[in-house]
Symmetry: D2
Subunit: 109 residues, 4 copies
């Protein structure tokens, strides 16, 4: 079994023991994901990246990934496939010849 | 090689071909992650979850996962480990006896 | 008429000409607000604060404030009152003696 | 003195008593704003808009508006002006004839 599937099974077991599937529509899962992303960002607020608390980064990042995995499960997405597909799209949006060394968005390249 | 490692290698190759590591400090990576999370949420704005564009959900979710993988790589985190550890912590914060069927935060249980 | 009321009237006129009140429940308004906040943050992504495009900052900040005003209107909040009340609460959470010169959260002071 | 100016003065007094201007660059202020926006959204998570805790909505919305006012002060923006200007731009992006009754983004109209 793949790494993702294994984690998704742990998350679904945790969810179903608590009877939480009733709350987990994709809109609220995406909202939960962005709230966790904000909690991750809060660890860097008013400071340099180096001084963030690494143990807390682990936890908040784990929360973000957990909701990502639950959303993927909801839609039946294969994570390796959707990420690999998006990288291919980004190779077209950000060709090396134009994007190298630049932090601009593709629309401004 | 694990699924994560495989995707992380694709993402790092994409990044390094464009010489983007210079921009990728954890604070900005976390910021990028939350911007992608907002783009995912925008697909559900003003509507029910069912009417969201699934092809776009795939792309925005892939972006969120990509930045999650880049942050994990930056810190040398093992994704399976940090997610499994967080689930264990959540089992204590949300005991089945109190959390079953409830959408409350652990502080309010 | 107060400044807020004046802007709220402009926003409500804009909304009602387009028959958009049907979409403007507080949950989606709050979601829209956080999406606009992410667009504001994107102007600072991968760069120092000084190099952000000020004309775009104006627009994204205006969007954030607009949704704030629409949410306040939805609930009938008086903006001057809720902000002044929150400052008073923060004076207790962050007493000068403990908080001076520190960027820590009140729980860590 | 305008309502905005009055609140901005209260916020600046609060900030300066704590010597916090050193942390308040626009990038971190925008980040703080989006974290507060996420806290506002959390009040609606897993539930319908009607069941959110209104007293907490007041507080989180006040936080969002406070950071908005501090960002506006940082750049010397006149809030009434930037919001009115943005409404004018939106009147062009969302003409009544096309946008009436539709929740689509301007690019899709």
């Amino acid at each position: 079994m793949s790494d993702w599937k294994n984690l998704q099974e742990l998350l679904i077991k945790f969810r179903d023991e608590r009877d939480w599937a009733q709350f987990h529509n994709p809109k609220d899962l995406a909202l939960a994901l962005s709230i966790e992303a904000a909690e991750l960002n809060e660890l860097y607020l008013w400071k340099d990246a180096e001084t963030a608390d690494i143990e807390k980064v682990k936890e908040e990042l784990a929360d973000v990934i957990s909701y990502s995995l639950l959303i993927a499960d909801k839609y039946g997405f294969d994570i390796s496939e959707i990420v690999a597909d998006k990288i291919k799209k980004n190779e077209i949006k950000y060709p090396v010849s134009k994007a190298k060394g630049s932090s601009k968005k593709y629309r401004e390249l």
